[in-house]
């Protein structure tokens, strides 16, 4: 449906609605199916992405608790594990090696793609883009619906892979061949890998459908007066995210297609000179390059990191500004640094491959470009700090998570300077240092961005507030817990401790971290429990939360707060408001806030 068509439909509804003088029945023609299941309303699709993402986050988080149980308590037997999960996963009360690797792999895949890509940008791009640019819906609501249902299909296939006889894929989320190509090299690379590839292919389709829609909407459907430089930073960030996804996901898919050919049709794209001990045979494949897959994978894989991080950055910028009651510092520099990050994201992929035997000269180029990313990142951090400086800060739970995001982004970003420098990466590559680095900067930080977004826009989503006290408890446990879990892992990395080890007891060099691993596992369980508290809060508040009574509860400038408390499909009743200024006039000329819809006064100062 085009913007115009929705507009007309909406004005018809508006007329009808005026005639009845009632507020709640905008959608009397809608059925349960068209409203809640195959919905084409961007707000409903956003909620679908969010709730599916939350289900995945619980599954993925639970998996991490299970494999942390093995790492923390390798000698303890938990008979209930076998009762609960069966012999394949937990024999005699111990997680099996096969089960452990399946858990690690699925945890990674699910969290990176299903939670922090679909759950994060799927939710907030859908929810915020039309509301903040002033559009009635996405450019193509139908494609938008398909985007969710492809994601849903991908989810079903991924879940089903957990139940096949040989187990889900267990070769790490990066799925490097030959391990991922040869069923005889690992049981997880049999049916589980086929399902993994199908799920990921569906996921790529979902991501492209969504991404194209987001780009089209931001470019074409902004309301009158909403020039690109009047867009809130959330929209800029979501826009660059979509561009990154559209340009890089197809490359990943091409890599997967070659892998499917190698697995099933006897080609040798990635395979060469292989003798398998399990079957005692030499394979016929010659001339392929296992490294080719890594190039194709990381050509998405690295932009993917920013696909995860940019939406969080955008939302954090917005939330910090609103709750400091002060404009974001350096709006243009923020856009510029987002742009720089988006460009550089495509030029640094081989820094994941410094120890593959990469040409050293090529490696040096990637060192240079990788460390260059630290510059726009530094700009962003200092601009956030300056935004807080001399503000008037309200600690809403969203604001707390936004501040937490900045703290984590600093901590995790700085260790990127270690790993991006190839000479140091030789030593630290594939150790717990890397685990600590990317969990803090990409995993937890983006999770914090997501939490900030949920707490901030929940009133707009459901017309009710989340419980604030639970929000504070959730924040402090998660914040303290995240540092307690990941900070000590740097030390394990500096001891050379490799990642993806099921058991360290036979290693003289790495076995003296038993106590620390137990500590980390215990904290991980507590932090996981705190997330259950959040989920309880989320669902309880949908029906029972405190009701929102004012249109603009935060005194915010952006357009989503000019819609009714419970906006119907089409968002605005009557005409879409016109925009006259940028979104960050907080504290200007002594006024606490000035909405984007307020015309610029004759006596207003320039900035």
């Amino acid at each position: 449906m085009s913007n115009e068509a929705v507009l007309q439909a909406e004005s018809a509804i508006a007329t009808h609605h005026e005639a009845h003088g009632e507020h709640h029945d905008h959608h009397h023609q809608e059925t349960f199916i068209s409203k809640y299941v195959f919905s084409m309303d961007h707000k409903m699709i956003a909620k679908q992405f969010l709730i599916t993402g939350m289900v995945w986050a619980v599954i993925g988080g639970l998996m991490s608790v299970l494999f942390r149980l093995q790492l923390g308590y390798p000698d303890t037997s938990f008979p209930w594990l076998e009762d609960l999960l069966g012999k394949f996963w937990a024999e005699k009360g111990h997680i099996t090696a096969q089960g452990y690797y399946a858990l690690v792999t699925t945890h990674g895949t699910v969290l990176v793609f299903f939670v922090l890509t679909a759950g994060l940008s799927g939710t907030f791009a859908n929810f915020l883009i039309p509301l903040q640019v002033g559009a009635r819906d996405m450019a193509s609501p139908f494609m938008n619906m398909l985007s969710y249902w492809f994601f849903f299909a991908a989810s079903i296939v991924m879940v089903s892979s957990i139940f096949v006889e040989t187990g889900p894929f267990s070769g790490g989320w990066t799925a490097y061949p030959p391990l991922s190509a040869l069923g005889d090299a690992s049981p997880g690379s049999k049916t589980g890998m086929d399902l993994w590839l199908v799920a990921m292919a569906l996921f790529v389709v979902s991501s492209l459908l969504g991404g194209l829609n987001y780009i089209a909407t931001v470019l074409n459907m902004r309301t009158k007066g909403m020039s690109m430089t009047r867009l809130p930073l959330t929209i800029w960030a979501l826009f660059f995210t979509a561009v990154l996804g559209v340009l890089s996901f197809p490359v990943l898919l091409s890599g997967f297609i070659l892998l499917i050919f190698d697995r099933n049709f006897g080609t040798s794209f990635y395979l060469s000179d292989i003798f398998l001990t399990t079957t005692n045979t030499a394979l016929p494949n010659e001339g392929g390059s296992a490294i080719l897959f890594q190039h194709l994978f990381w050509f998405l894989g690295h932009p993917e990191v920013y696909i995860i991080l940019l939406p969080a950055m955008g939302m954090v910028s917005e939330i910090l500004s609103v709750n400091s009651r002060k404009p974001i510092f350096g709006y243009m520099a923020m856009i510029g640094s987002l742009f720089a990050i988006a460009i550089l994201a495509f030029l640094v992929w081989a820094h994941h491959m410094f120890v593959t035997g990469l040409n050293p000269f090529l490696g040096s180029i990637f060192v240079l470009l990788t460390l260059l990313i630290a510059v726009p990142s530094a700009i962003k951090v200092f601009n956030w700090l300056t935004t807080l400086w001399r503000g008037n800060i309200r600690f809403t739970p969203a604001m707390m998570f936004a501040i937490g995001f900045v703290s984590l982004f600093i901590s995790g970003g700085l260790t990127g300077i270690w790993l991006g420098n190839s000479a140091l990466d030789i030593h630290l590559h594939d150790t717990y240092f890397v685990i600590a680095h990317f969990h803090i900067v990409m995993g937890v930080a983006s999770m914090f961005g997501m939490f900030a977004g949920v707490y901030h826009w929940y009133p707009k989503m459901y017309g009710r507030y989340l419980n604030t006290s639970l929000g504070y408890i959730h924040f402090w446990i998660t914040m303290i817990g995240a540092y307690l879990i990941f900070w000590p892992m740097h030390y394990e990395g500096l001891a050379g401790m490799p990642r993806r080890y099921y058991d360290y007891s036979i290693w003289e060099s790495f076995k003296n971290f038993g106590e620390l691993n137990r500590f980390i596992s215990t904290v991980a369980m507590i932090v996981f429990a705190a997330q259950i508290l959040f989920i309880a809060n989320f669902f309880y508040s949908i029906w029972k939360g405190r009701k929102v009574t004012t249109l603009n509860p935060y005194g915010s400038n952006t357009l989503e707060w000019t819609t009714p408390i419970n906006p119907g499909h089409g968002n605005w009743v009557g005409e879409i408001p016109e925009v006259h200024r940028w979104p960050y006039d907080y504290g200007k000329d002594g006024k606490e806030y000035t909405s984007q819809t307020t015309p610029v006064g004759a006596d207003e100062s320039h900035h």
Partner: protein, 361 residues
């Protein structure tokens, strides 16, 4: 029963927290939302400051507890390793000071500028000077780190010195195979389709093979093939030629600060000069069980975590003696062709065990 009880307690705890939180939100409505918000704001502002102070103490305490367990607590065992450690220390100081400064600013600002009725917000949308400052300064600092890093990178990845001892290291699920050049100082040719785990784990070409179109390579007849432990020489550069028989593995040498993938079909190399013998390192680390371990650092299957090899760093004299006791793989596989058939009886016992362990793996 206890499991049940624990679950019950946890559930109860949850319900209690949830109820308290609910009540506190009701109370805030009664007190007036404005008042409640201000009170919450004060508490959280204070907690921000407390978190920063306790956090920094925690960082220090964590270092006290764990630093001695890292590799930085004693010297690196190779020439490259020393450079890596130097770079690590510089990077720690640079990023560490930025970390402390920015975290203090972040939480201090949060505390200092918490909402107050008296404060008037400072409308400060941008400042070109400040933005230029924090573009240029990080760029310069990073340039310095890049220059040092690349200098080291090129020296680590450059050609090994001519006097380097050459060892081939081949990964397989889940163990390591090593090959030395033997008397002729040259590696013979190999082909993966000749691999068999009974007597030729690397597939050395020992005979003409019309079917595979291969010619016997004499140079392979004196190559020595071993598993489990690799011997190298103190103060003599060693060049590893790394390969894999099946999936991607990685030769991880944390004490030497080196690492390189083992990729099937694409040989890679790595070189370094060990600085301490294993015996010396036992004293340095004060650990009688110390061993230079080769850890596989690339996910390679369900036995990944157990893919261990050992390195013994010895003096040249010890090395020569050890080397002399090792027969060529060709000789082990073809005892009838042994040129010194009578004098190697004890050695053939060694061969037998070596072959057995290969089979076992």
């Amino acid at each position: 029963m206890t499991t049940f009880l624990i679950i019950a307690v946890i559930v109860l705890f949850f319900v209690v927290v949830f109820q308290i939180a609910k009540v506190s939100d009701y109370v805030s409505v009664i007190k007036g939302e404005e008042n409640a918000r201000k009170q919450n704001n004060k508490i959280n502002g204070f907690l921000m400051l407390a978190f920063m102070i306790l956090g920094l103490i925690g960082v220090w305490y964590c270092n006290e507890l764990l630093f001695k367990k890292t590799l930085l607590a004693y010297p690196a065992a190779s020439n490259h390793g020393e450079k890596v450690d130097e770079m690590l220390w510089l990077t720690i100081w640079v990023t560490g000071s930025v970390f402390v400064a920015t975290q203090i600013l972040l939480f201090w600002f949060a505390f200092k500028y918490q909402e107050s009725d008296k404060r008037k917000v400072f409308f400060f949308p941008h400042s070109n000077k400040l933005e230029a400052l924090w573009t240029v300064v990080p760029a310069i600092v990073l340039a310095v780190l890049v220059i040092i890093g690349l200098k080291n990178w090129f020296s680590f990845t450059g050609e090994a010195p001519d006097n380097a001892l050459q060892v081939e290291v081949v990964g397989k699920q889940f163990g390591w195979v090593f090959r030395y050049e033997g008397a002729d100082k040259k590696f013979g040719k190999k082909y993966y389709k000749l691999i068999n785990d009974v007597d030729n784990p690397l597939g050395l070409i020992w005979n003409d093979n019309a079917e595979l179109n291969l010619k016997d390579d004499e140079k392979s007849h004196d190559d020595i093939v071993l598993t489990q432990t690799m011997y190298i020489v103190k103060d003599r550069p060693v060049k590893l030629i790394i390969g894999s028989r099946d999936v991607i593995h990685d030769v991880g040498l944390s004490h030497f600060r080196m690492k390189m993938d083992a990729v099937p079909g694409i040989p890679t190399t790595m070189w370094f000069t060990p600085k301490y013998t294993t015996t010396e390192m036992k004293k340095i680390t004060n650990n009688p069980n110390f061993a230079y371990e080769i850890s596989c650092d690339q996910m390679c299957g369900n036995g990944h975590y157990s893919m261990k090899g050992n390195i013994e760093v010895v003096t040249q004299a010890e090395f020569d003696k050890w080397m002399a006791s090792k027969p060529a793989a060709y000789v082990s596989a073809h005892p009838e062709k042994n040129p010194k058939a009578d004098s190697t009886k004890p050695a053939s016992a060694v061969i037998a065990t070596a072959v057995k362990s290969v089979v076992k793996n």
